[in-house]
């Protein structure tokens, strides 16, 4: 059983096609990082999953049931765009409304639990409109976590959070999935943070899913490279390009060799050509670089072969 299974999802807004046959599979218990450029269809997909907008075509299933099934939907937590709180009410009252809305027994106890999770104990009596952006984001995460949801849909949950907030968010996400009872669909542009928690990834572009993979697959797909820096980078680049196939200079002035080669071989080669290497290291490209590389490829140029 998959937590989310989407087949051939389409959505048109008048003339504009926001989604054009998107497929998506999110296994139960996963933290699914949903990545894509602005306007690629992430939020539209999430809104359809949450039943907030209607698809033009395709099927959406949640836990093998139709996405409109009220029993499944009652066990969802959501954070899409805005927190969905009443500005003139206190944080506590907003959380109480959500607890009542979900029919949570022992509402007060549950509110204390989620407030503690997001470290907002001191702000419960504050009016929501007086909270800072980061505090509002934490409150909206607390609202999403209310009632132990089976499926969490989070759209840009890290936006506006400080370093401590991001760490809390990571801890919360890892905590909710640890017993496998909760599945998380999270979209974010902060890929470095996403990489620390996601077990699965889906990369969307132009309303289509261009790649789905597990964290292990990403790890094996991510190329290792040897990075060198010298005082004569132009000459170094020319020498390395003569001997290796995939050589690129990055933004910080390092020359990267992506071929299957050892660092000492590169240093020896350069030394024998009279180049003194200042720095050398072996590294692996992360999700962010992998994603940027993928996005730089032209559509239809073989994402699957990456």
């Amino acid at each position: 059983m998959n937590a989310i299974e989407i087949k051939g999802l389409t959505k048109n807004f008048g003339e504009k096609q926001a989604l054009s046959g998107l497929n998506m599979t999110v296994p139960v218990g996963a933290i699914y990082g949903f990545i894509g450029e602005n306007g690629s269809g992430k939020s539209t997909t999430e809104k359809i999953i949450c039943g907030l907008i209607h698809p033009s075509g395709g099927t959406v299933k949640l836990f093998d049931r139709d996405y409109k099934d009220s029993d499944v939907r009652a066990k969802m937590g959501v954070l899409i765009e805005s927190p969905g709180c009443f500005p003139s009410l206190t944080v506590w009252n907003n959380l109480m409304i959500q607890a009542n809305n979900l029919g949570v027994e022992n509402a007060e106890e549950e509110i204390r639990r989620v407030i503690k999770l997001v470290r907002m104990e001191g702000a419960a009596s504050n009016k929501f409109k007086n909270c800072s952006l980061g505090m509002k984001q934490r409150i909206s995460i607390a609202m999403a976590l209310m009632g132990n949801p089976t499926l969490l849909v989070l759209d840009e949950p890290i936006n506006g959070l400080d370093a401590d907030g991001m760490r809390i968010m990571r801890e919360v996400l890892l905590d909710v999935v640890k017993d496998g009872k909760c599945t998380v669909l999270v979209s974010s542009h902060i890929l470095g943070e996403l990489e620390k928690v996601a077990t699965h990834y889906g990369i969307v572009r132009g309303g289509k899913m261009i790649m789905e993979m597990t964290a292990d697959e990403l790890e094996s797909n991510c190329r290792t490279y040897v990075a060198v820096k010298s005082r004569q980078n132009d000459v170094t680049l020319a020498i390395l390009r003569r001997h290796f196939i995939r050589v690129e200079e990055d933004e910080s002035g390092y020359i990267r060799v992506y071929d299957d080669v050892k660092a000492e071989d590169v240093v020896t080669l350069l030394f024998s050509n009279g180049i003194l290497v200042n720095e050398v290291r072996t590294d692996k490209i992360g999700l962010e670089e992998f994603y940027i590389d993928l996005m730089n490829k032209k559509e239809g140029s073989g994402y699957a072969n990456y």
Binding site: L52, H54, A74, K75, V78, L89, N100, D179
Partner: protein, 273 residues
């Protein structure tokens, strides 16, 4: 490595859904300062109407351009602000003087603000997203909003009635029940309360159409209620009887159910964000 459990889902019965929804809406309505402002207006308005019209009673105003003199007439009786006798309605002519315009029927208009603001707030705050994600049955939402807004509007009618009593006492107007009876007045008040369900159903539908666009909801609500406004004095006269009450009850039920289905269909077919 995480372990995965196949989740099970509790049956979410209609009773459970509606109970939780009503709990939320009643809490929201009656913790909101705006609701108390509206209820306060309903209480104070008849006091002001009765006191001010009594003070102005018999005053002659002259149009400076035409020179035509006009005598301002106040209320002769406290009950005039609550309703008119069926014999007065039978003439078929709609009076446009101040006493005919400034009465309890104004509450039907004012309650549109309460209903539209209450529903528009759901969409403006983004709360609707949280709500409709966990509640796929739009019927629950419509039933709950209609019921809560009906209670709010009915309270406004009752407070207007109480305000009229206070205003009448302050203005020293007679509480003469010639042409009707205490039972008739109670039936009249009951009719007005039941008629709020007709207007609440209209306003709820219009608010659902307008969603976060409060101005649209208000314009549509006032426009639609204007069509029915003329029938209110006829169906709920001061000398009303049980037949009037039954008619109002039936009308309220029909409008609530009929427009409830329309509201549900609108929510089902349109985007909620």
């Amino acid at each position: 490595m995480q372990t995965t459990n196949q989740p099970t889902f509790e049956r979410n019965t209609f009773k459970k859904r509606l109970t939780t929804m009503l709990k939320v809406d009643f809490r929201r309505m009656f913790t909101s300062p705006f609701a108390y402002i509206m209820l306060g207006i309903s209480l104070v308005m008849p006091v002001l109407i009765l006191v001010m019209t009594t003070m102005m009673d018999g005053t002659v105003s002259v149009n400076p351009q035409t020179g035509v003199e006009m005598v301002i007439e106040g209320f002769d009786n406290v009950w005039q602000v609550i309703g008119t006798l069926s014999s007065a309605n039978a003439t078929g002519q709609m009076s446009m003087d101040m006493t005919a315009m400034c009465n309890i029927n104004l509450v039907f208009f004012i309650s549109s603000v309460l209903v539209c603001v209450f529903i528009a707030d759901d969409f403006r705050s983004g709360y609707a997203k949280n709500l409709f994600t966990v509640r796929s049955k739009k019927g629950d939402y419509v039933i709950s909003k209609t019921l809560v807004c009906f209670v709010g509007s009915a309270l406004m009618i009752i407070l207007f009635f109480i305000g009229a009593m206070i205003g009448g006492a302050i203005a020293n107007l007679p509480f003469d029940i010639t042409g009707t009876s205490v039972g008739g007045i109670i039936c009249c008040l009951l009719c007005k309360v039941l008629l709020t369900s007709v207007f609440t159903a209209i306003f709820t539908t219009m608010a659902v159409v307008g969603k976060q666009r409060l101005w649209l909801s208000l314009i549509c609500s006032l426009g639609a209620s204007m069509l029915l406004f003329a029938m209110v004095p006829m169906i709920s006269p001061l000398d009303a009887n049980i037949v009037n009450v039954i008619l109002c009850l039936a009308g309220g039920a029909l409008f609530s159910v009929g427009l409830g289905f329309v509201s549900k269909a609108i929510l089902d077919k349109t985007s909620l964000v």
